[in-house]
Structure formats: structure tokens, C-alpha cells
């Protein structure tokens, strides 16, 4: 397994490089530059700005300079936020996104898997209908509707929680965003878990286990759970990525200083270095999570060996 992990880590390097290169070219090919605005700046000012960010060099030289910086862990200076480096901006936003997205993921897995199990075992019962309703509501009602409704209820009407903002990891500011992300994720995890467990419960080896007279608890926990978790694990990777790096709506609704807002604003402002820096970060996160998912497969399914 270690050789496999190491092989995967090395294989990730060209992936990251390809992603950076494609993004680099796409960003520079997009019409409109970082210094296009209502007010046209003088040629001398523009020349100085371009020199500052190496935009006066040929594209390939800029690209090599960027890679050189990247190897030294320097993501460059932000085009838009002149007083900050991209490292500063990422360092400020990543903990916010990681804590909101990370906590929401852990809760979602626990709640989603449990609800899925209950629903599958009591198919067509009240609890099953409830889980399916929750699943459908979570998928059908967009977060930009659900979020403001939560704010109106819990912040404006009941005044229990703040309507948004971020105060140094103070928990009351985290509750509503985590709840919103959790509702969205639970609906997916719950539905997948339910479907998968129902299918597993109808397989031959479960019938054998039952025939041996094992109690339901043992049949489910020891025999059915592991194979039923496989599809859930498959959706966890992309779900975690979207909860951490692309929770744009949640960040906007609750005014959170996270990564999602940074990347959208970065793209709109043509902040080349900021967007590239975030792309590097998201690529590394994606590759890492995919690797973890693959390793989890081996643990869940004895047929898979690396």
C-alpha cells in the first residue's frame, strides 16, 4: 500500500502541472486584463504596473517565473489586493473554509450514514419517508433560498444566532453556515447510503448471514455496512472539495471570508496570481482526497488490493 501511495503522489505532480498550465493559458486568453477599469490609466502608470507583475515579459517567461516562485512556496503578489501576497490571502481564507467545510463534512457523514441506514432498514416506513423528504428538500431547494430562510428564522425572528460574519472562530458565527452545508450534504449522503444498503441487503451473502441466524444488528454492522459504504465514499471526495473550496453561496449568504468568494472575485478581477494560487491549492486538495478515497476502497472491499 505504501508503494501505491508513493506512486500516486508522484503521479500527481504532472497532473498539478497540467492543471496549472491550462489555467495559466486560459486566464491570459480571457479578454479584459487586471488593469482594465472605468478609468483608463496613463501609459506610464500602466507600464509600471505591468513591470511590477512581470506582464511586460513574454508569456513563457512569466510562466517560468511563476513556476519558480511556486517551487519556493511563493504564490506571488495579488493583482487586486495590492497590500497582500497570495500566500497571505490563502492563509487567511483557508482556515475559515477548512473549519466550516470540514466540520460540516464530519457531521454530514455521521448523520447522513445513520439516517440512510435507518431508512434502508425500515423501507417505506415513516422514517424512510422522512429521510427521503429531507433528501429531496436538500437537493431541490437551493442553498441561496435555504440560507436566507435560516437567517430570517434564527437571526432576525428568534435572535438566537448572528446573521453572518466571522469572529475568530467564535462558534455561534459558525453554526448557521455549518448547518446549511450539512443539510445539503446530508441529503446526498443519506440518499446514497439508503439506496446502497437496500441493494446490499438483498444480496446473497446477507441472505446466508441471516440463514445462519445472526441478529440484524450483526448482519448490518458486520456484513452489510462495509460494502454499502463504497458508493458513499465515492461521493465524499467531490462533496468535501465542494464544501471546502466552492461553498460560494454559503460564504456569500453568511458573509464569510472563505476561499469560494476569493476565487470568484479573483476571476472577476483578473487577479491572475490569486486564481492560480487557489487552483494549485484546490488541485492538491482534490488529488489528496481522491487518494484517501481510493485507500478507503481497499479497506472497505477485500477484493480491492493495491
Amino acid at each position: 500500500m505504501w508503494t501505491y501511495t508513493l506512486r500516486r503522489v508522484f503521479a500527481a505532480i504532472p497532473t498539478v502541472l497540467v492543471v496549472i498550465t491550462v489555467c495559466y493559458l486560459l486566464l491570459h486568453a480571457t479578454p479584459g486584463g487586471p488593469f482594465d477599469s472605468d478609468r483608463k490609466v496613463s501609459a506610464a502608470v500602466l507600464a509600471n504596473l505591468e513591470a511590477k507583475y512581470h506582464l511586460d515579459l513574454p508569456l513563457w517567461q512569466q510562466y517560468l517565473l511563476y513556476l519558480k516562485g511556486l517551487l519556493q512556496g511563493d504564490l506571488g503578489a495579488s493583482f487586486r489586493y495590492a497590500d497582500w501576497s497570495v500566500n497571505d490571502l490563502v492563509a487567511a481564507a483557508l482556515p475559515v473554509s477548512l473549519s466550516i467545510g470540514g466540520i460540516a463534512m464530519v457531521i454530514s457523514v455521521l448523520v447522513g450514514v445513520s439516517l440512510g441506514i435507518f431508512a434502508a432498514l425500515r423501507q417505506n416506513s415513516v422514517i424512510d419517508h422522512f429521510v427521503m423528504l429531507l433528501g429531496n428538500v436538500g437537493s431541490a431547494v437551493p442553498s441561496f433560498v435555504l440560507g436566507p430562510v435560516m437567517i430570517i428564522i434564527f437571526a432576525i425572528a428568534l435572535k438566537w444566532l448572528p446573521a453572518g460574519g466571522w469572529h475568530d472562530f467564535e462558534f455561534r458565527f459558525m453554526i448557521l453556515p455549518i448547518a446549511l452545508l450539512t443539510i445539503i450534504n446530508v441529503s446526498t449522503i443519506g440518499r446514497v447510503m439508503r439506496g446502497s444498503l437496500i441493494e446490499v441487503m438483498h444480496s446473497n451473502f446477507i441472505r446466508t448471514a441471516r440463514a445462519k441466524g445472526l441478529p440484524t444488528r450483526v448482519v448490518v454492522l458486520r456484513h452489510a455496512l462495509k460494502p454499502a459504504l463504497l458508493p458513499v465514499v465515492s461521493v465524499l471526495g467531490p462533496l468535501a472539495i465542494s464544501s471546502i473550496t466552492a461553498a460560494l453561496v454559503t460564504e456569500t449568504v453568511f458573509s464569510l471570508p472563505g476561499l469560494g468568494k476569493l476565487i470568484v472575485n479573483g476571476a472577476g478581477n483578473r487577479d491572475y496570481t490569486l486564481v492560480l494560487g487557489l487552483v494549485v491549492l484546490i488541485t492538491v486538495l482534490t488529488v489528496t482526497l481522491n487518494l484517501l478515497v481510493d485507500l478507503a476502497y481497499a479497506w472497505l472491499d477485500p477484493k480491492i488490493r493495491y
Partner: protein
Amino acid sequence: MQLRIHLTAIAALTLALAGASHAADLPPGTQLHPTQTFVRSNGSEPESMDPAVAETVPANQILRDLFEGLTATDTTGKTVPGVAESWKQTNPTTWVFKLRTNAKFSNGDPIVAEDFVYGIRRFVDPKTASPYAATFGVFLLNGLEVAQGKKPPTELGVKALDKYTLEIKTQDPVLFLPELVANTQLGPVHKATVEKWGKDWVKPGNMVGNGAFVLKDWQVNNRIVVEKNPQYWDAANVRLTKVTYLPIEDQFADIKLWESGETDYVYQMPPGVFDKYKAQYPKELRNQAIIGVRYYDYQTKDPAFKDVRVRKALSMVIDREILSKRVTADGQPPAYSLIVNGVVGADPTPYEWSTWPMDKKVAEAKKLLEQAGVKPGTKYSFSYNTSEYHKKMAVFVASEWKTKLGIIMETETMEFKVLAKKRHDGSFQIARNGWLADYNDATTFLALVRCDSDQNTNFHCNREAEALIQKGNPLTDPAKRKTLLTQASKMILDDYPIIPLVQYSLPRLIKSYVGGYSELNPQDHYRSKDFYIIKH
């Protein structure tokens, strides 16, 4: 000759307001709240806290608290003394500012004339790469050449006559120079701090400013906290002890935070909710027109818009009253002129047809189109940047043209940066545009339609009007200058290079316990110095 006659008038204008303090004047009987803290939404994250580099409204809003220029703007928009306690125009192109001797930087160092010389040179120097370098620099002697890198910054028309006397020489007579130097871009900078910290001089702990507040905390994309500056010369009249600026971009989130009590001040209301909130919060919903105009540009070099009759016909039939009351529905007054109400230096020149009944306008417009050979069914392309607001306006205008003239407007939506480039390149037929005054004088608006102006994105040029502007602008008699600039503005507008639509206004919710907001500040240049929290 003209100049000499008016020198006496200028001398009469000389101000001597030594020692005057202009902070929040409390209405009689006002009881202050024991905690003077204020939380305000500020739209978006400022791009920089360096006064020379800052460009956007949110950045300048905070900078007016952290820095103070020679003059400042009070809550009603009036120019009041800042670091300079008095000033006079000694000849048409020379101004002398007398600095107050008790003005200090936040670290206790006295502010001397050399600090202004350093700050202004640094701002115009192309090495600083300030987007405003040429906009404001153009008024100073040699300013444009310095901004273009053709002359060294030492050639700029700013000089310290002695420790507390600053001389500013302008390229041409600039009547509104005292208003102009209220901008923090033209303020003092603490040289030792900049040299010590480099670009990090603007970070909390490093920054040395001279405003009524000092920078305490800056969490990027999250909050900027400023606290009262005890070294400020007028600290005795500053009531607020702490102001928190939140960069809230989503306008609905902004309202929710205000309703839940997290903030005291909404940056700007989204379109379409004005009436609803006016009914719900009649006392808290404040609205003020500011000097700015939303308009559409014609690309006048495009063969389709070479004929002024076409441009006039299309402009005439747009019902600005309905646009303002029903479409944007946020209290923005209709505009029939480039110069809007509240602008100094020229009067609005509304079109004579603005008061005609719509039937008459449509009949006239149809006639004009027929004369120009434009048939119903003709298509024009319209470019705008993606935004609900601009979309609403575009859909309305398109329907006006379709139903009244049979003209088809094909809309093309894009990102702001793409639109900005298209406009400057002239690669459009009709494009959305808008302008907020950089300073309160007609010339900031005329720059949008003048010949050879970088900001002219309709590419129209009326040489006769340009000659009038060049003749009128340097005049030192405000009345004569105004007459000529108004005349020029009317001449240009009669060529229909643009379609003025509505004047900007700022509807916002402000808690009733926030005092000092006047609704009279035409550029929205409020300083936290003028705000206070009433007992509640």
C-alpha cells in the same frame, strides 16, 4: 486682463478659519450613548490602504478616517479646514496653505509642509503606479508630465515655503483646488514609515496616519477596525471610539445583517426593494442623490450611429420617469443631462423635449428615424456587464425601443473587465456606462465627452464646444466659467453622444441612533469623525 480683474475677487475669497473645529455638531438636547462604537457595511474589500494607490469608493471611505488632507469634507459636503487652517490664492495659479501647528501624525510626529510635498510627489510619481495619478495630477504644475514619466517628481508644483506653509502651483487656474485637496491621495505621508516598512507600511501596527482614527485590525475580506486617534488635532470633537468596516458584497446579506442588529449601516440597498423597506423602516431608510450619472454610450464612429438624428430619436423615447419609479425603483432621479443636480461649475442642461408628452416624443422620434432612413426592424447591439441592475434597465430600454420605434436591441452581457476594455477600445455599438464624480466640478463629467479625453468612450468630438471648455475652464470668475461650461455641455449633449438615464442615489438603512448623517453630502464623502451614537 481677465485674470487681473478678478484677482481682487479672489483675494476676497481668501479663507481664514484658524482653529475652527468642524466635527459633529450635536443638535441641542442630544444625549450620547455610553458606548460610541459603530459597525458599518462597506461594500467590498478595499484594494489597498495606501492613500496613493487606493481607487475604489470602499477604500477611500476608510482612508478618509485614517488620513486627512489639507482640507476635508464635512457631513454636508462642505469643504472645511483639515491640516491646513487657512489658505489663499496668491495669483491665479498659486495657492498658499497655512498648516496648523498642532497637527500630528498618529505616532506624535508633527505634520510639516514637507510631508505634503513627499506625499503628493509620491502619489503622482508613475513608480507608485497610482490609477488616479493623472486624474488629479493634471491640475498641478507639470503634473501630467510627471505622471507620464516625462519629468521627475521634483518638478511638480508643490513646495514647502517654510515648516508650516505649503505652496501649490497649478497648471491652469483651478478654482476648486481647496475641494480637490480634501482627497487623501493629495495628503501627507510619513516618509520614515514608508521607507522602513515598504509596501507593508499600511498594515496595522506599522501604519502612521494623520486622520481622526488609526488602523487597529485588518482581517482581509472580513473586517477593518479603526480606533480613535488621540494624537488627532481635533480629537476632542471626535465622538466615536471605534468603527468597524465590513466588506459585505451581497446586498441582501447586508440588509439581513442590519435587520438582525449586527450592523448599524447598510452600504447600499439592492434594486427593487426600496418601497418595501421604506414602508417597513420609514425613519431608517435614508436616500440621497449623489453626483453621478448612469448613461449609455453610443459608439459614434460606428456607421449606424454617425447620424445624430438616430442617436436623438433613440434617446427621446426612453421614459426616464417610469425607469426611475418602476424599474430601478430605488429613488434614483431621472437624468436628461450629463451634468446632474448638485454639480458645481456648470448647470444641468435638460433636453427641451424632456417635458413633452410621450406621444409627441414618439412622433418626433419616428420622424427623425424616417429622415435618417432607419426602418423598423433595424437591429443594434448593446453591451453591458452582468448584473441584475443593468439587466433590468437594459430590458426596459429594449422594450421602449421595440414597442415605440420597432427598433431591436440585441443585448450582449459580459464581465465588467471585458466591458471596460470594449468601451475603451470602441468595440461596441451601445454600451452601459456610469460615472461617479472624482471631485465636485463640471470638468469631471465633461471628461466623458471631451475631445481627446482618455475617458471619452463614445469617441465623439465637438471642436466648438471643446474650444469653449478650454476658454472657460481657466477662468477665475466662477459665474463666467459656469456660463461657458454649461454652454459647452449643452452643445455636446445636443450632439447626443450619450443617453443620460438616471442620477445615482444611495438608498441605505441606517439605525435611528446613528447621528451625523445629513443626506446632503453630494459625493458620499462622510467621515466617521462626524458620526455619533445617540443614547438608545
